[in-house]
Amino acid sequence: MIAPETEQDIAEAVRGAEGPLLVQGNGTKAGMLRPVQAAATLSTKNLTRITLYAPNELVMSAQAGTRLADIEAELATAGQQMIAEPPHIYGEDQTIGGIVATNFSGPRRVMGGAMRDHVLGVRAVNGSGEILHFGGRVLKNVTGLDVSKFLTGSFGTLAVMTEVTFKVLPVTEATGTVVLHGLDAARGVAALSAGLGSPFSVSGAAYLPAEQKTLLRIEDFAVSVKYRTEKLAAQLKEFGAAEILGTAASKTFWRDIRDCKMLDAGEAVWRVSVPPSAGPGVLRAVEALGVTGFLDWGGGLVWLTGPADEATHAAVCAAAKAARGVWWLMRAPEPLRAVVDVVPPESPVLAAIRRRVEEKFDPRGIFNPGRLRAA
């Protein structure tokens, strides 16, 4: 493994590469999507500095190998946090580069946006070994094509990101949760939709089928949280009596949802994104195959787990497709990941454009070949 300590040396390593490279940070998400066939590994794990933190400008820059946990600890010193609330399901060694490369967002995505909405700038090395920067450190920037956004979620297939700059926000004074009990998935999601369609700025909206719990989170100043949770509970009274959780209980609850603690993870794990009201249908469609899960993002994000075989995977994909949504195979044994569509296939027109774009970034095709799709 090559794990340089400077961006210059990353560029050097790319220029000197004689074949495909497995591009990664700490490699915590290696079991996600397709396996990469590469003789060498290029890691950013030794680029670990926070290079800029301006709390009054809501901005932080960090080298790609900086651990998410270290970034969150630094933000906490100024009472701030990552807006997208990235899940910690891949352990404490996840790097910020990995979070950005996978566009990995948690419950707050439903209101605050995804990681891709907060990435302001990126430094990266392209396949020719050139060091490039796109975007910047300011919150509003439309100068040229938004390559920072395009690299976010590209799974290391276009360029090796060496530093990312992202927007952050204050941790709110209080958190509250409105909990409704005993609803089936369809009713639960109807309640979530009503909550997200209310004026109370719901920042988390999840449904847990096993416990038949419907949860709506509000984060704000304490007086607002009190006011809004009560108003929301009253507005949702047709869905039954609500329980209201305070800050401490809410924080624990939503951390567990963020990290999928209630997912009794089997061999395979999928993430499916659909229009929110289609979430319950996805759960129902795969139930008989022994696939279980829960709903986040108001019903739109379906976390699923079940047996790792082609038939089950095909059923999950079919359910996502029927709901006009998309899927990611988040975890499965390598043989399965190597032979199935881990993300939805593209149209032929888009595939042709995609290949031409990839060739412009990585002419030799050396970065994570096959990670998203078979060649």
Binding site: N103, E130, F134, L139, D146, F150, T152, S193, P199, V343
Partner: protein, 471 residues
């Protein structure tokens, strides 16, 4: 300004091309005579004018496909156009180009409240989306000053912002899906009605691409529930430094107002003369701060903000008590460009972004430049997110004055880059800032962006001579 030489073969075949377009479109959808072309020769950046070869006004995606195939086959350049409100010349025609105006594609196709989205055609106005959903108390968040006229297709192409994007984000943060037609006449479907892409973020790449990659035919936007209410306050300060420090203090306190706007003395005077909003004329700098929520929440939040402002010795502070007062406060701000236009009919509106802590420094240096160039400037600033709009006043009848204004503007944008910011926060590069791109990007970075453009449009027929410096 240098423009690429028109293609002689295209100019020579003008009559044939117009006849060819008439054969594939309804007869009233092709404009070819000199007088009817006149309204299309410029956009919101009126300093530049160029009549196109022809204008076509398709009314559905099928017609866009037909036009693109025709233009691709004959090697004809294509310039997309929405309402023509671009402040960077994004819709400026070329002599040998066909302008594709999307204004007839103005239908709202679907509204879904439970899933909180609307599917609209590109010629729907920005305000038109909000108007379509406001009876259910929903709205579409990005609110550029031109929102009464500008179209969602243009908003997506330029990734438009607005005064309220501190809380709600810019266009890119409020989209779910797009349909567009490539230069080859192929239809691409990007995203949908769900969140996030499994694979590359084409939605993010196409948003803000200024018509370089395709012509939009359908846009799926997120719609949001309106807040219970909103209220604005004003605070006047006796220096830009103090007002800037107050902005820092508000953000650092953990309060993110829905809008946080800054105006300097010339801007305050221009806007007050126009809107009579009760702006403090004796102040050197003024903040407009808006909060949202219930009556009680607004009062509580404004109290916190007033307490913070008080530490910076404001020379005036006023919380609006009624919806009318709030509206008057915003009328001044949203009418700022028109207000400056009353003082000086000709002005250039610049659009850089800076790290907010650089504000006092940047305003001081703009003041020095103003003296050096002998041109007046008024500064309006989305202070929460660092987006600065200096309005440079000049006399268009005096070519020297115009050239000075352009040079002044370029100096300001270079300064924005120098202090860690960028050339454009929300207006786009267009033709206006095209030749400054190398101030912000290295040759290799520009080559990488050009490569993406080439992957979509190998012959560079789509909106050429914009965004990238001419080579």
């Amino acid at each position: 300004m240098l423009q690429p030489a028109p293609k002689p073969d295209v100019l020579a075949k003008r009559a044939e091309i117009i006849a060819g377009l008439r054969a594939i479109l309804p007869s009233d959808a092709v404009i070819g005579d000199t007088i009817s072309l006149k309204p299309y020769e410029t956009d919101g950046l009126t300093a530049y004018k160029q009549a196109p070869l022809a204008v076509v006004l398709p009314s559905d995606e099928g017609q866009v496909v037909a036009v693109m195939r025709f233009c691709h086959l004959h090697g004809i350049r294509v310039v997309p156009r929405g309402a023509g409100t671009s402040l960077s010349g994004g819709a400026l025609p070329l002599e040998d180009a066909v302008v594709v105006g999307v204004m007839r594609m103005n239908r709202i196709l679907e509204i879904n409240y439970p899933d909180r989205y609307a599917v609209v055609q590109p010629g729907v106005t920005n305000i038109g989306i909000t108007q379509a959903v406001q009876d259910e108390q929903f709205f579409y968040a990005p609110d550029p000053s031109s929102q009464l006229a500008c179209m969602i297709g243009g908003n997506v192409s330029m990734n438009s912002g607005g005064a309220h994007c501190l809380k709600y984000g810019v266009t890119a943060n409020n989209l779910l899906g797009l349909r567009l037609v490539t230069i080859e006449g192929e239809v691409l479907e990007i995203g949908g009605t769900h969140c996030d892409a499994a694979g590359y973020d084409w939605l993010g790449l196409i948003t803000g691409s200024e018509g370089q990659l395709g012509i939009l035919t359908e846009v799926t936007v997120r719609i949001l529930r309106s807040p219970e209410g909103a209220r604005a306050m004003l605070a006047g300060f006796d220096s830009n430094e103090v007002a800037g420090a107050c902005v820092d203090a508000i953000i650092s306190s953990g309060i993110i107002p829905v809008a946080l706007e800054f105006m300097d003395r010339p801007a305050i005077h221009a806007c007050e003369d126009f809107a009579h909003a009760g702006y403090p004329l004796e102040a050197e700098a003024m903040l407009i701060i808006e909060v949202e929520g219930s009556e009680q929440e607004q009062t509580d939040m404004l109290r916190r903000i007033r307490d913070i402002c008080a530490a910076y010795h404001p020379i005036s502070m006023r919380v609006s008590e009624t919806a009318e007062e709030s509206a008057a406060i915003w009328k001044g701000r949203k009418g700022a460009f028109g207000a400056v236009g009353r003082i000086s009919p000709d002005y250039l509106c610049m659009d850089g972004t800076i790290p907010t802590s650089q504000l006092p420094n940047v305003l001081r240096r703009i003041g020095q430049m103003s003296d050096d160039y002998g041109l007046k400037v008024a500064n309006i600033f989305h202070a929460g997110d660092g987006n600065l709009h200096p309005l440079i006043m000049f006399n268009a009848n005096d070519p020297e004055s115009f050239h000075k204004a352009e040079a002044f503007g370029a100096d300001i944008l270079c300064l924005c880059v120098e202090v860690g910011g960028c050339l454009t926060g929300e207006h786009g590069v267009g033709v206006e800032k095209r030749d400054l791109m190398s101030v912000q990007f290295s040759p290799a970075e520009l080559a990488q962006m050009r490569g993406i453009k080439t992957a979509f449009d190998p012959n560079w027929l789509l909106n050429p001579a914009k965004v990238f410096p001419l080579q």
